[in-house]
Symmetry: none
Subunit: 125 residues, 4 copies
């Protein structure tokens, strides 16, 4: 798989796995019904404690991104792609709102903020 795990990240390892897998599902790299690597396999591949992988997968099941197939393993749940994209959008909106709110609190007016945003946007296009 396509995981980049950094133990120095500050973020918990299981959380890095959760996020990256959700991103893969959101972007369509993983499709509904597709089987994902077993706990042991991914643990070996990433040189990470299996408990940590298991915890990530458990979290993903709670979030309805994965579902277990008896005797077979875990697969991407139906409708997971749509759901992950929505979650992602919602998260972005929330964070954007937070940043803007804090900016307002710092006495930045709409004009300053728009300039700031434009400047950052221009770096990405």
């Amino acid at each position: 798989m396509f995981f980049h795990i950094d133990p120095h990240n500050g973020l918990a390892i299981y959380d890095q796995i959760v996020r990256q897998l959700k991103f893969a599902v959101a972007s369509g790299a993983l499709k509904s019904g597709e089987l994902i690597p077993s706990v042991r396999e991914l643990a070996r591949e990433l040189a990470i404690n299996p408990n940590t992988i298991a915890r990530a997968y458990r979290q993903l099941q709670e979030d309805d991104v994965l579902q277990s197939v008896r005797g077979t393993g875990l697969e991407v749940a139906t409708g997971a792609g749509e759901r992950c994209r929505n979650e992602r959008l919602k998260l972005i909106r929330t964070r954007l709102r937070q940043v803007l709110a804090e900016a307002k609190q710092s006495k930045l007016n709409s004009k300053d903020l728009r300039e700031l945003v434009e400047k950052e946007l221009s770096n990405f296009d």
Copy 2:
């Protein structure tokens, strides 16, 4: 003083104190040379262990926001206001950049982003 501490915030208590005091300094509510409440006094007022307050104050000294006056207490350091405002701006810029980057990653184009930002901005004016 004007501290609102929520022990269930996720954020460490000492960190909440650090941030709120920095904000007070940035906004000019606390000016350079001004004495802040003593460790014991604030501990009493907030019903928090003095060690926790002390830890926050120690952190603020390392960040050059406070300086100690032997046997007298802690005062706001010279130039702290300017420094806190700069730190705040830098933080906002960084976070804005992160959110926009993640939005880009989610296949949102500049137009969508601008709309999103405008919508959020209009809620604040």
Copy 3:
């Protein structure tokens, strides 16, 4: 490990640990990526309260000498050796400058100073 702690040193215990660990890193006795003794282990070994060790380690993280690996422990940060050596050199230079300045203030001329230095240097070769 190789710590010599003297509680009556005048120097705070946590500071003695910080300095000695930095010296170990500067001298190459501890290399980047190497895991250092856990808080509890070192506390047991030195018969010192774990909180005191933790405080030293926290300080060393702020100084970018150590970095934490979630659930595993603390390791020497990348580039810490170089950084510690530089810090050490800078410290020596600063202190040398102070001593010489004070000597000058005491009406010692360059010749006297050079003699003094030579005499001390000869004791070390």
Copy 4:
């Protein structure tokens, strides 16, 4: 008097007074038998707690730099000039030795050290 007291210095205020008065005696600015300002007078002048001045004077009496004259006040002790100069020299020698020792510990050889010292010396001549 000619005291420069900085409460942000890190050094205890009483210690700053002790050092500066000793320096004045060593340099001949204050001569044996000369009366120094009373505790109250100096306290007023420096806007400092009289207890702090008293503590400094007590320390200076213990170091045989000052002696009390019944009913009159404190005067500079006989032979204090010579004694202060000696103490100063001894202190400088000790500190120089410490710095050089630490430099040696950092693997600097005699040649490097001489260069360092020369460089610093040239800034003073």
